[in-house]
């Protein structure tokens, strides 16, 4: 707790935290001081001078900016004196003399701080008779953002954001004085994963985003708070709709999670929600093998009959389920319950072969939260490139490192955090175990790193650096890190609601509520609610694909999943689907996998359903309905309930509310939670549920499995990039253009040794597949490494083997 002091603002005594900025202390207590340049999540710069107030001091009354003035005990402040008003009117007049005042055609008109403050604090008539500054009207500064320099009031929010917060300073002030302008470098667009934030925080309409431009007028907008579903960070957002159509997402300042920031993928993914390609009617495969539109009853009948006949012939055990990580907890719960009780199988998995041991992911102890980063002395990241996979977590780590935490990054390639890292260690895929041993044993080459790591509190961010890495390496790393002083662990997986789906038991190894499927007491408790539970061994996604391919499994239900694109051996998944006797898909798009199904159901997607999701901290947050959804699409849980009904049972999913209530009764880790808790008060930032006595949630203590390093002359590193070829990029016109071309990257020395020119063509071959691609150079790679971005045209066919061969084509 920080010390409290008393200040007086406009005659009202207030008790506030010592050292807090006056502008913030006043606002938190009901006095809004106008401002343009100050932003609560960035350092004050005191540039616009709009936040002037009078402060009584020993040497008389001081007119000063409140955005960089820390409060001190006994401070007496006037925010509305004549002097203050005159000064603020003066500032507004200065800002307006060069402003085009084209509010009627400005995206910001109606929600513009400059417009608002002009109405409340500004002078009337213009006294300015000189020529205004002129600039070329909006110029595109990236594929997503346009800049109108005439509207810019030079508050430096955008430039500070991209420099200080996101670490890609691609937009900066140019020239000086009255000629100052914001600009990018010629041929170097503002290609930042976070550019949308600058549009959101620009206090005027100088920065606008292409996907939103001219889409709506602010006063037509309906706003609903929700949670971004596109990765496991779980950023708080506001969904803006106009006439039942989602037209943008804005970041909401969630103190525990995203601080108001979003990544561009999350922000602009709203376009895919509105895509014309959305499934809006059920489909059935006809006699000639084509999928054709069908009525709900016919599709239900076909799906129920198809599944039932397999269950009858081969047992429930011959059917499997893949999916659940892309929707709400309620849908995932319904999916798990459907697969286990109606079909009667334990073959179900929300992870798609990219995951870590589910016990490790949801049950690791001591488990940390994002805010631990801010109190950490040391942060160790041995896992994915956060900028690519968990973008807003990247911002939070960046911030913590900037504030002085030591950051150690261990990864096979450059990462977005390297410039902030105290130490960066690069290694060749496969050699992770050897590197870990060196670190544990205090090898002289790593002595400095080892010494740095020893200072607690330590936060360990642990995950797979890429898809060819043995998942158990992360556990070995965690086993080491958890022993460090005051260590907490954050096991990382990026897939949207994967933590929620695992918490809901969508895994062969888990039951709802972080309970192991091997736990007899856990099973017994669940049986009391569910009646029956299959006892057999369950397969994970890779096992399911193998089982379908070799005929052990016959049927498959997919819910919001696309194994063909998403597992590290997509070609094998495609083969498995073609071998399956009967496949049902519930999805929002006819993706490559759904296209191979026998019956396809159109599901409502994000923004179209109420529910909860769970992020990588285990934080439960609300998602809300803001738009109706396309055509005949229905909530996935209700599709499952209908199917269950036709198969002679029920999963009790009469409404999403009922489902949630069942979850909080059945799932120990969620016990007692209510939606009201999540919608009001503290819970609006989401709640990380404490575990109670008597529950049996997993307390997973990572142990070092003692891996041997894999020696490969050439090792494959395959990892995701933010703009991979997933549905949200593919079906969002703005993001689609950002997807990179298929490439393989080599260290220039290796390329020279192998005689491959920059831009040459090679065949990349692994035991699992091969692909022909162009070569690019990447000096950040450890020698002997080939980097292939996953799901960017090819990567998904190369599998997860480390060893790779290159065949030069040209």
């Amino acid at each position: 707790m920080s010390e409290r002091v008393t200040i007086t603002v406009d005659g009202i005594p207030l008790e506030v935290d010592a050292g807090e900025l006056l502008i913030k202390a006043a606002e938190d207590n009901g006095t809004y001081i106008p401002r343009f340049c100050w932003h609560p999540r960035m350092k004050p710069v005191g540039m616009c001078r709009m936040c002037l107030v009078e402060v009584e001091g020993p040497r008389g009354i001081l007119l000063t900016t409140s955005c960089n003035m820390p409060v001190s005990d006994g401070m007496v402040v006037h925010t509305e004196s004549e002097t203050v008003k005159k000064a603020q009117e003066g500032i507004l007049e200065f800002l307006l003399i060069n402003h085009p005042l084209d509010c009627p055609v400005c995206d910001r008109g109606g929600e513009c701080p400059l417009q608002d403050q002009t109405l409340s604090h500004g002078p009337g008539e213009s006294r300015f008779v000189e020529e205004k500054r002129h600039f070329e009207k909006p110029i595109p500064i990236s594929d997503l953002v346009l800049l109108d320099r005439e509207r810019c009031i030079l508050c430096a929010r955008c430039t500070r954001f991209s420099d200080e917060v996101s670490g890609d300073p691609l937009i900066e002030f140019q020239s000086r004085g009255n000629n100052t302008q914001v600009l990018t470098f010629p041929d170097e667009p503002f290609a930042s994963y976070f550019s949308g934030n600058t549009v959101q925080i620009c206090p005027v309409g100088a920065l606008t985003s292409k996907p939103y431009r001219f889409r709506a007028r602010p006063w037509d907008l309906e706003k609903t708070e929700s949670t971004c579903p596109h990765c496991s960070v779980g950023c708080s957002i506001e969904v803006h709709t106009s006439q039942n159509e989602v037209i943008r997402y804005q970041g909401v300042d969630n103190d525990d999670v995203n601080w108001g920031w979003l990544c561009d993928k999350g922000r602009y993914s709203f376009e895919s929600v509105n895509s014309a390609e959305r499934l809006d009617t059920p489909l059935i495969r006809n006699a000639s093998g084509q999928l054709e539109p069908a009525s709900w009853p016919d599709a239900m009948e076909a799906a129920a009959t198809g599944l039932a006949s397999i269950v009858e012939a081969h047992g429930g055990n011959s059917v499997a389920g893949i999916g659940g990580a892309r929707g709400s907890n309620e849908s995932a719960y319904a999916f798990g319950k459907f697969m286990r009780t109606i079909i009667g199988t334990n073959h179900l998995d929300a992870q798609l072969g990219d995951g870590l041991d589910p016990h490790f992911l949801v049950g690791s102890t001591p488990r940390g939260v994002i805010n631990d980063l801010d109190t950490a002395k040391t942060i160790v990241l041995w896992g994915p490139d956060l900028k690519e996979e968990l973008p807003v977590l990247y911002l939070r780590v960046r911030h913590a490192a900037q504030q002085g935490a030591k950051l150690i990054v261990i990864h096979p390639r450059r990462t977005g955090l390297d410039d902030r890292a105290t130490f960066k260690v690069v290694y060749k895929p496969g050699e992770g175990p050897a590197l870990l041993n060196k670190l544990v044993e205090g090898d002289p080459g790593l002595a400095e790193v080892r010494a740095a790591i020893n200072e607690g509190p330590v936060v360990g961010l642990v995950g797979r650096t890429g898809l060819t890495e043995d998942p158990r390496l992360a556990e070995a790393v965690a086993a080491f890190l958890r022993e460090l002083p005051k260590a907490t662990l954050m096991p990382l997986a990026r897939r949207s609601n994967v933590y929620g789906a695992l918490d809901m038991g969508v895994s062969p190894r888990l039951l709802p509520g972080r309970v192991s499927s091997a736990s007899e007491s856990g099973k017994a408790a669940l049986r009391e609610h569910w009646g029956s539970l299959p006892d057999d061994f369950g397969r994970d996604t890779i096992g399911i694909i193998d089982g379908l391919a070799d005929g052990h499994l016959k049927g498959l239900v997919m819910m919001g999943s696309d194994p063909v694109r998403d597992v590290p051996s997509g070609n094998r998944a495609a083969e498995a689907l073609s071998r399956a006797e009967f496949v049902v898909a519930i999805d929002t798009f006819l993706n490559d996998s759904a296209a191979a199904a026998d019956v396809v159901f159109p599901a409502l997607g994000f923004t179209e359903q109420e529910g909860t999701v769970t992020n990588l901290e285990g934080r439960v947050q609300k998602v809300t309905q803001a738009a109706p959804g396309p055509g005949q699409a229905r909530p996935d849980w209700s599709i499952l309930e209908d199917l269950a009904h036709r198969m002679g049972g029920s999963i009790g999913a009469t409404s999403v509310n009922v489902l949630f209530k069942e979850i909080v009764t059945v799932a120990p880790a969620y016990r007692g939670l209510t939606w009201v808790d999540l919608e009001f008060g503290e819970g609006r930032d989401g709640l990380v549920m404490p575990l109670e006595e008597g529950d049996q949630p997993i307390q997973y203590v990572a142990v070092d499995p003692g891996l041997a390093p894999t020696k490969a002359p050439l090792a494959l590193h395959s990892a995701r990039t933010l703009y991979d070829d997933g549905v949200h990029t593919r079906f969002g016109p703005s993001l689609e253009r950002l997807v990179g071309a298929p490439m393989a990257y080599l260290h220039p020395d290796d390329a020279a040794r192998l005689g491959i020119p920059d831009g040459g063509e090679v065949d990349v071959e692994t035991v699992q597949g091969s692909a022909r691609v162009q070569v690019g150079f990447d000096p950040s790679l450890a020698p002997g490494t080939v980097f292939v971005p996953f799901n960017q045209g090819i990567g998904q066919n190369l599998g997860s083997a480390v060893e790779v061969k290159l065949e030069v084509v040209s």
């Binding site: 005191g46 540039m47 001078r49 007119l63 003066g90 500032i91 200065f94 800002l95 009255n178 000629n179």
Partner: protein, 424 residues
């Protein structure tokens, strides 16, 4: 009494060389200083009552006392001299660079600094050449570098060149510039003595300020304090320019009146004309008129009379001067040199410039006089002097000085411009 310019006066042909410097007692003070405790040197500087010569006139010893106890720490020499009317540092850099270097080395030793920087404005290539030659010679002779004169004290000095931005004379802008950033002044606090260059404690001193150090160490702070009136001790180099017969730099003991300075040292107004106005301390300072000729040239007396001694630049205007045009020249200087961070300075200075320009070309309107005043008031609330600083640095309010000066002292001339379109 001369401290700063005696060597160049006596040896005009080679005062800048190391041989002449050594032959005239150079680096003797350094040897003495190296044998002293740093705290004792600081005590001498405090005792000298030396006030900064860069413009603000802050007591040097007091500033040194603020230096936070964190290492590394830096000393930065402010040689950005760009205030219109000022050319004294140029002479010190060009004609006696070793005197400055010795001052820098002594001060670094006193302050526990191992890396000092000399920031010289980019338009001064010749002074830069001289200082670099001097620096090379000082390194070669062991006055700079490792283990200076066997004392165990190490010091590196880096010369950094500006590139055309007056605002870099403001000390925090200068630090930003030295860090490879835009020369934008920083918010204070923190002050440089606590968080300066690279976030480390830093002392910024003017060229002239530090050029006094060899003398102070040699003769003691008390001897320095004894020179001149209280509050303005020591000698000071004034730059005299404009309509005087003998423009130039004059090192004087403070205390004579402006009238004496202009008459006796400047030879009076050229062509036997009468004085109309003068700027007592660089372009930022409010103007004085003939009524102020008997104000004594001391920091405090000038302040009392409503202006400032600033950078020690006195610009004299005779009776033929078109004061509106002269004011326009000063205002457009500030508009051109505004860094652009603060709204009132960025927008307001250009607005003032445009209005004045309209006046000088006969497009003034009667409302413009009050508008000039009100816009000035919005840049510098209350039109007070010293300004109630509501911008990050004082540059914005400085632009108001000439406007206010002509509207106070020569309002009739400005009005005449509006009614007749020509200067009266």
């Amino acid at each position: 009494m001369k401290i700063l310019t005696s060597r160049m006066d006596a040896h005009p042909s080679d005062s800048h060389t190391i041989s002449r410097y050594l032959a005239t007692g150079g680096y003797r003070s350094l040897k003495k200083a190296l044998s002293m405790e740093p705290a004792d040197i600081i005590a001498e500087v405090k005792a000298s009552n030396l006030r900064g010569r860069g413009g603000a006139g802050f007591p040097c010893g007091v500033k040194w006392g603020f230096l936070a106890d964190v290492h590394p720490r830096y000393l930065v020499v402010n040689g950005d001299e760009s205030e219109p009317g000022t050319f004294k540092d140029r002479q010190l850099l060009e004609r006696d660079p070793h005197q400055l270097l010795e001052g820098v080395i002594i001060s670094s030793h006193a302050l526990g600094v191992n890396h000092a920087f000399i920031y010289i404005r980019g338009e001064y290539p010749k002074p830069a050449r001289r200082v670099q030659q001097a620096l090379a010679d000082a390194y070669a002779s062991g006055y700079v570098g490792r283990n200076i004169l066997g004392s165990g004290f190490d010091l590196d000095i880096t010369v950094h060149l500006g590139a055309g931005a007056y605002i870099c004379g403001e000390e925090t802008a200068l630090l930003n510039s030295l860090e490879g950033r835009r020369g934008e002044p920083r918010l204070k606090p923190p002050f440089p003595a606590v968080e300066g260059l690279y976030g480390k404690p830093t002392i910024v001193n003017n060229v002239e300020t530090l050029s006094n150090m060899p003398w102070i160490v040699e003769n003691g702070g008390a001897a320095y304090a004894a020179i001149g009136p209280e509050g303005s001790s020591g000698t000071r180099l004034f730059s005299l320019s404009g309509h005087v017969r003998r423009p130039g730099n004059h090192e004087i003991v403070m205390g004579m009146t402006f009238g004496e300075l202009i008459e006796d040292l400047g030879g009076g107004i050229r062509d036997g004309r009468a004085i109309k106005a003068f700027i007592p301390g660089g372009a930022s300072a409010p103007w004085f008129t003939a009524d102020h000729l008997d104000v004594p040239v001391t920091i405090d007396d000038v302040a009392k009379a409503g202006s400032m001694l600033g950078s020690g630049a006195i610009v004299v205007m005779d009776e033929t001067t078109d004061v509106v045009k002269a004011a326009l020249s000063v205002v457009s200087f500030f508009a051109h040199e505004s860094c652009g961070q603060c709204t009132p300075c960025r927008e307001g200075t250009t607005w003032l410039e445009n209005m004045l320009r309209r006046l000088t070309v006969g497009q003034g309107r009667a409302v413009d006089l009050d508008l000039l005043l009100d816009v000035s008031d919005n840049i510098s609330p209350g039109l007070a002097w010293p300004p109630r600083q509501t911008t990050i640095c004082p540059l914005g309010p400085s632009a108001v000085s000439p406007v206010l000066s002509i509207l106070t002292h020569f309002r009739d001339e400005v009005e005449a411009l509006v009614t007749t379109g020509v200067s009266s």
